[in-house]
Amino acid sequence: MSDFLFFLEVSLAGLGSGALLSLTALAFVLIYKATRVINLAVSEILMMGGYFFFALAAGMSLSPWVALPLAIAGGGLIGAIVERGVIRRMLGESAISVFMVTVGLGSVLVGLVEFVWGTNPRTLPDFTGTAPVFIGQLYISRKIAIAFVVASLVIAIFLLLFRYWRGGVALRATATDQAAAYSCGINVPGVFSAAWIIGCATAAGAGILLGAIGGISPVMGAFGLSALVVVIVGGLDSVMGALVAGLLIGLVEAWAGTYLGGEYKLVSTFIILIVMLMVRPYGLFGTTEIERL
């Protein structure tokens, strides 16, 4: 029986980190959906979110509840600057060039963080409390539980917005046919900006949650790699896919990490990726046209 309890606890922890993966994946999906750009810098913007929070809450000793929205807004600001300054100029260039720009941008951000805060890992000031949460007999770390709840809420809100809000229609219209979106009076460049801002703000928020659990460091962007797998498994342009695949990969990573050993975590993730690419290259929920990168 205790074995089974342990299994459930591992699974819940997996779902928790899976929700964070989903949230990060959502950032990829938002930006891809609107602009057809795979923004690899999402991982580093996630890291920036953590560091912004650190700077505001620990460095300037603001209350965490002030620092939190400010750090998220900071992520959005990076998104706005990058979209306005770099990506919009590259509209119409080949997908690979834009992709490479985001890779370079990621390196720049890592360099910036190392320059300002150094390479040592830091812990974020605690703002969640530490008392563990119990569901029946099951023990879950409070931070993971909070991350799970927040991430699921945010994703649920996005799903609803996409379906029922006029702006969601604009985004989906732009994703389907840019010229036709223009012809309907939709401000297409505005949609692009909005997607980048919201996407990067989401990533920054995920970074804070992730940092609260495991601390922040210049290499925490590696988390984004798993999120990228989530996006590909779920379908590049599907919010629902990000959610389902995030939880799935979170679970698999937790099981593999616990029962096979920590070194199998990423291996199992990437085995899923490879199998997925062979069986359904457009992902679980992705649009079934094949996108060449």
């Binding site: 119409g92 006029r166 229609v169 604009a170 989906r172 219209a173 389907t176 046919d177 840019q178 010229a179 036709a180 979106a181 223009y182 012809s183 309907c184 009076g185 939709i186 401000n187 297409v188 460049p189 649009t287």
Partner: protein, 269 residues
């Protein structure tokens, strides 16, 4: 230009990719409340003309290199493509270009963005369903599953939602059965009569275009070669022969005279 001109295109030249010239000094104008048709064969530059007017040319690496286009008292070059839509110029693109992944209703919702910042009352979707009852039946279905005719209706319906002053219609007859073409053109004429919206209609099907239009332009290789009120154009010998497939007289002309066609057509360009 007269004060009641809603669209005036003056001597425009359009170049794609900085190398390929498509329009060479094309001029035309649309009077407020009228339907004007622009006819021509494949590759004459009809669609390019419309894209130059609506600003969508930029998306295809095209540019207006000379001349000017004025819409409702202002140059179109001063506006963004979506800004123009919000000023009342709606482009129904060739090949319908509906949002296939969205439902019929969501397609219409997308067009409501054309009303942003205009301070007008939102259009009731019932206006569209009034003209196209079939869309009402399928309003919650995915637009991609509509038939070709229904998709064209939806494309025109989106234009109605935008409460435009001028609609650019690019080949609404494309790929539709003759019965549907007749139905849709009947509705186009009704929309013009009932809402007073001006239209610039690009067509290959000259017969139906003449039936709804008040004035016509005929273009070949990038410029206008003939224009006039439609009742005069339909009587024109060359138009009858080249665009309506009638050879003057009661009997149709024999295929033996095709050479003749080529020789005679040359004066037009």
């Amino acid at each position: 230009m007269a004060a009641d001109t809603i669209l005036s295109v003056e001597n425009i030249e359009v170049v794609y990719n900085k190398t390929i010239q498509v329009l060479r000094g094309l001029s035309l104008s649309v009077e407020r409340g009228k339907v004007v048709t622009l006819l021509g064969s494949n590759g004459a530059g009809k669609s390019t003309t419309l894209k130059a007017i609506s600003g969508l040319l930029e998306l295809e690496n095209g540019a207006v290199t000379a001349g000017s286009i004025g819409f409702d008292g202002r140059k179109v070059a001063d506006d963004t493509p979506h800004g123009l839509v919000r000023r009342g110029l709606f482009h129904v693109m060739e090949g319908r270009r509906i949002f296939e992944d969205l439902t019929v209703e969501e397609n219409l919702t997308a067009a409501t963005f054309a009303l942003s910042g205009r301070g007008v009352k939102p259009t009731s979707f019932d206006l569209v369903y009034g003209y196209f009852p079939r869309l009402y039946e399928r309003r919650t279905g995915r637009a991609g599953y509509l038939s070709g005719g229904e998709q064209q209706m939806l494309a025109i319906g989106r234009a109605l939602i935008a409460q435009p002053k001028l609609i650019l219609l690019d080949e609404p007859s494309l790929g539709l059965s003759p019965i549907l073409v007749e139905e849709i053109f009947g509705i186009i004429a009704r929309i013009n009569r009932e809402t007073g919206v001006s239209m610039l209609l690009v067509e290959q099907n000259a017969a139906v275009a003449f039936a709804v239009a008040h004035y016509g332009y005929i273009m070949e290789t990038g410029k206008i070669v003939l224009d006039g009120p439609t009742d005069r154009l339909v009587k024109d010998q060359d138009v009858r022969e080249f665009y309506l497939g009638m050879a003057g007289g009661e009997t149709s002309r024999s295929y033996r005279d095709v050479k003749h066609y080529k020789r005679r057509k040359r004066w037009l360009s």
